[in-house]
């Protein structure tokens, strides 16, 4: 059963002052889908969203809405509504008037406005907040008002620009569930922009991974996680050990000085490849029983598991295990064929996947700062 394409982007390119932000983007979004544009800051995800919303015009390419080209349609005539990053609620209006704003512009009857606003506020769990000034609301409540203000207009597509970036972790998790529930209940197409891979994995029907103004991979969360297309995707989604390897033959990959059985095929004989092994897919065994052997260089307690870094012939692997291993001990690694994923070489090869410079601090630093996310939007 083919669902209709509600939005289609064809060969979209956009640059600011000579710097390419979007490079020939092709993307379609099916009706009622929850699509996430995922990528680091500066990857062009916000610009893509703003092109769909009508706030930016592409330099090249076409934007279609329900099969109609809308390149030159101004935002106020598009059947999409946006939940803005940091909300942009009108400070001179109370909660009710903020939510009613779009309906008033559309000249909806007063009685209907009152009913719709009431229903929508109930939908986002803000019953009784009608007369509150938006300045007195918490971040989470403002977020809900922003969602209600967009949803009340019953758009065909709802655009969400990093809506949870300003909330604390606990609230963010709650709102993720609520947004997902809202999506199921309303049947509206959601296009969601985030740099948070966990958010993307847990909410989306489809994830579009972007980097450097290009789409790297489109797929379901499980596809993206289990079958990353290149080293960038593998590294950006979850933790991964990415090794330089050679595809000896179908189902036989050689890396880290050992030949492994794997499930991948279709490569040329002895083709150089990138091999991904997720940290949770490695089994720790006694040194003499391991396919690979290495020295534990660091151990970190993470609650659910231990995160250990193992030095194998100079390459540092990250392994997540529930068994404690003492630092400086020598352990063996056992890798099942289905834990190995082989990717073609790409421009991102050798840029990611080694944990030799890994430390807790580096991890903290690499979390994108939501404040710096607007670079492409301005």
């Amino acid at each position: 059963m083919e669902q209709t394409k509600v939005i289609e982007l064809k060969n979209i390119s956009k640059s600011y002052g000579g710097e390419t932000v979007l490079d020939n983007i092709d993307l379609y979004i099916r009706d009622k889908e929850f699509v996430t544009l995922l990528g680091p800051s500066g990857c062009g995800k916000t610009t893509t969203l703003r092109i769909i919303g009508g706030f930016e015009t592409p330099d090249q390419g076409e934007v279609y809405f329900d099969g109609v080209k809308i390149n030159d349609v101004p935002p106020y005539k598009r059947h999409v509504n946006t939940v803005f990053q940091r909300y942009a609620l009108f400070p001179h209006l109370n909660v009710f008037e903020n939510v009613a704003f779009g309906l008033r512009v559309a000249k909806v009857k007063e009685k209907e406005i009152v009913q719709k606003v009431k229903d929508t506020l109930a939908l986002v769990n803000l019953k009784g907040f009608e007369r509150r000034s938006v300045a007195t609301l918490s971040g989470g409540q403002q977020q809900r008002v922003a969602i209600a203000r967009a949803l009340v207009n019953n758009p065909k597509v709802l655009l969400l620009d990093e809506p949870l970036a300003a909330l604390d972790l606990k609230l963010r998790k709650d709102m993720q569930n609520e947004l997902k529930a809202l999506h199921d209940r309303t049947g509206i197409t959601f296009i969601y922009v985030t740099h948070d891979q966990e958010e993307a994995l847990s909410m989306s029907d489809t994830i579009v991974v972007m980097a450097d103004g290009r789409i790297q991979q489109i797929g379901t969360p499980t596809d993206i996680y289990n079958e990353p297309k290149n080293a960038f995707v593998a590294d950006f989604i979850g933790e991964s050990n990415i090794l330089d390897g050679v595809m000896v033959d179908d189902y036989r990959a050689k890396f880290a000085g050992h030949e492994f059985k794997c499930l991948d095929s279709g490569f040329e004989k002895n083709e150089p490849v990138d091999v991904v092994v997720r940290p949770e897919d490695v089994d720790i065994v006694k040194a003499e029983k391991g396919m690979l052997r290495g020295t534990v260089t660091s151990v970190t307690f993470k609650g659910v598991h231990w995160e250990i870094i193992v030095d194998i012939q100079g390459f540092k692997w990250m392994i997540q295990t529930t068994d404690y291993c003492a630092p400086d001990s020598v352990i063996g690694l056992y890798i099942e064929p289905d834990a190995i994923h082989v990717m073609k070489k790409s421009e991102y090869s050798d840029m990611f996947g080694d944990y030799s410079s890994y430390s807790e601090e580096f991890d903290e630093l690499s979390v994108a700062d939501p404040e710096s996310e607007e670079e492409t939007a301005e």
Partner: protein, 274 residues
């Protein structure tokens, strides 16, 4: 409370001296003269006699009101357009607006007179194309034009300042919710720049109502506004008590109007009727 050091106290002295000499003392003199007669005896006659000047007050308020409204009508769209230009272009516009403010008000009014006068630039142009000369100087329009010309920057700058501080996201949100340009202006830009509008109105209305030079030059001496009347009482009629009384009433008028405007500003408009 933290005790102030000697230096801190000393730093206040020049300011205090200034306030006492040039603000407090003159105000006390005005009040003193307003309530005394020529011999220095206490008297209400100056205030009571002000009814004779009622028409002057009325026409002054009227002229100032019209000038303020015209400034707002010209100034707001200008400020709005400016605030949405490229930053570098915005700076050029601000400079162009400030430029006349660096030139003396008297000189600006004189040059306007030279342009509008019967033998002036405008009329010689009009004569050439056969519709003129038209009498401009000496009409109410000329006086109001003078006020608008002299005080327009005081309307534009505060409005521009409040508009340029507004996050562009508010405009995008309005557009996103279905507003076209005009609706965005009236539903979002206007209410969010209220504080700028209020200070603009105050900064045009107050000097307009108290001006004497503009009405003398461009009014051709035909319009007596409050400022002119006060000037005449002091300089030519030797009636400083009457002049002081008029001044006092004008100051009270101005204070009331500023207070009213501020009241508008305080109300956040957050409590709209559902």
């Amino acid at each position: 409370m933290k005790k102030r050091s000697f230096l801190e106290k000393a730093a206040l002295v020049p300011h205090l001296v200034w306030i006492v000499l040039f603000i407090a003392a003159p105000l006390l003199f005005v009040i003193y003269f307003a309530f005394t007669d020529e011999n220095g005896a206490f008297s209400f006659s100056n205030i009571a006699g002000l009814t004779n000047y009622a028409d002057i007050f009325l026409i002054s308020v009227l002229f100032a009101l019209i000038a303020t409204v015209v400034c707002l009508l010209i100034g707001y769209p200008l400020a709005f357009t400016m605030s949405r230009l490229k930053p570098s272009t915005q700076r050029v516009f601000v400079l162009l607006l400030m430029l006349p403010m660096w030139i003396s008000l008297l000189i600006r009014t004189y040059s306007l007179l030279a342009m509008l006068d019967n033998g002036g630039l405008l009329n010689s142009l009009l004569s050439k194309i056969g519709i003129g000369p038209v009498k401009i100087v000496g009409t109410p329009g000329a006086v109001i034009l003078g006020m608008v010309y002299d005080f327009l920057p005081y309307m534009v700058l505060p409005i521009y300042t409040s508009l340029s501080k507004l996050d562009i996201k508010y405009f995008e949100a309005a557009e996103d919710l279905g507003c076209n340009g005009a609706q965005t202006l009236f539903k979002v830009a206007l209410p969010l720049s209220k504080s700028g509008i209020i200070s603009g109105i105050t900064m045009v209305f107050v000097p307009s109502i108290s001006t004497f030079y503009i009405s003398q030059k461009l009014g051709g001496g035909r319009f007596d506004l409050i400022g002119d009347t006060i000037e005449r009482q002091f300089l030519y009629n030797n009636a400083k008590n009457v002049g002081a009384a008029i001044s006092l009433v004008m100051m009270i008028l101005i204070l009331i109007s500023v207070a009213v405007m501020n009241r508008f500003g305080d109300d956040d408009g957050g409590e709209l009727i559902v």
